[in-house]
Symmetry: C2
Subunit: 182 residues, 2 copies
């Protein structure tokens, strides 16, 4: 997905600073997508230059100025047009689509070159890690203000439910089949 469309999409949930957009990627979006500061800040600048977003500078007494971006009408239109135009190309992407770099699967692939006790530890820690992820996806308590909007999206509960189901399947599979690796 074009970085412009993505940033506009996130700004459509409410005005945000670049730093807050990054927080979304590190928080609720971390399992699905990420952009670095080096991409986010220049994208916001170019979106502003082309009037897809407006910017209000909040001088915060002593911290560096916070630049809060708001999506414009023109920006909303561009975002919707882009989403509609590219929708079909996103169908074959995602879990078992494009753009995945799973180092854990590579480790499994080459597991025969590792000592058995190492692989045992790795699999145990993977299970712990996935249980932790599962808790994360099932967690329903409060979240920091700037992450609240995304949490309350209708689509997010669909996505969280799917992620939860997938992790559970992965955990069950691992527990039942880990013997087949060695």
């Amino acid at each position: 997905m074009q970085k412009e469309t993505l940033c506009l999409g996130l700004l459509s949930l409410g005005p945000r600073s670049g730093y807050e957009i990054k927080q979304m990627f590190e928080g609720p979006l971390s399992d699905f997508y990420s952009l670095s500061f080096g991409t986010i800040y220049p994208t916001l600048n170019s979106l502003q230059a082309d009037k897809y977003v407006s910017c209000k500078q909040h001088s915060q007494s002593k911290k560096p100025d916070k630049k809060v971006y708001t999506i414009t009408k023109k920006g909303m239109e561009l975002m919707k047009d882009n989403l509609l135009g590219d929708a079909s190309s996103y169908i074959r992407s995602g879990n078992f689509g494009d753009q995945i770099k799973s180092e854990f699967f590579l480790l499994l692939l080459f597991s025969k070159y590792l000592p058995k006790e190492t692989m045992n530890t790795v699999l145990n820690e993977r299970v712990l890690y996935l249980r932790q992820k599962l808790e994360q996806f099932n967690y329903d308590g409060p979240v920091p203000g700037n992450l609240d909007a995304i949490r309350n999206e209708k689509s997010v509960s669909f996505i969280r439910g799917l992620a939860s189901a997938l992790i559970e399947t992965g955990l069950n599979y691992m527990e039942k089949n880990r013997g087949k690796l060695s």
Copy 2:
């Protein structure tokens, strides 16, 4: 995973050309990892310069020369050392770990900006695509020669079984819960 470790790991399954390594990434590895030609060829050159692989030039009558790389003893040692040294850092990566860019999930996230009939088509095509993926993972027939070695790895049947289980879960979830999106 370092590109060197990964290329060495693939060469540990048998001698290969750069083009054939790329075919592995486009074939059986496509759902888990990928490297471009722009990374593969320079990596093979530097591995050769440092004696981690040897290279035999096969002049093929009329096609361009095929450079077939073979992992050396020194290369096997480097690969194993790297795998062991970095194993713990790969635990938190993969499905629901790092490095995933799922455009399909982004599309779901922004689905409210798309016409209902578009999302309906998208979801139908996604289901078809996943069914096709499922077939791919369950397929047990013959594969081209250079992809055979990877197919016969013990770890690969574990991985394929896992992928298959995950896709099935995803399909079931989608069919039961797609109403919740709109």
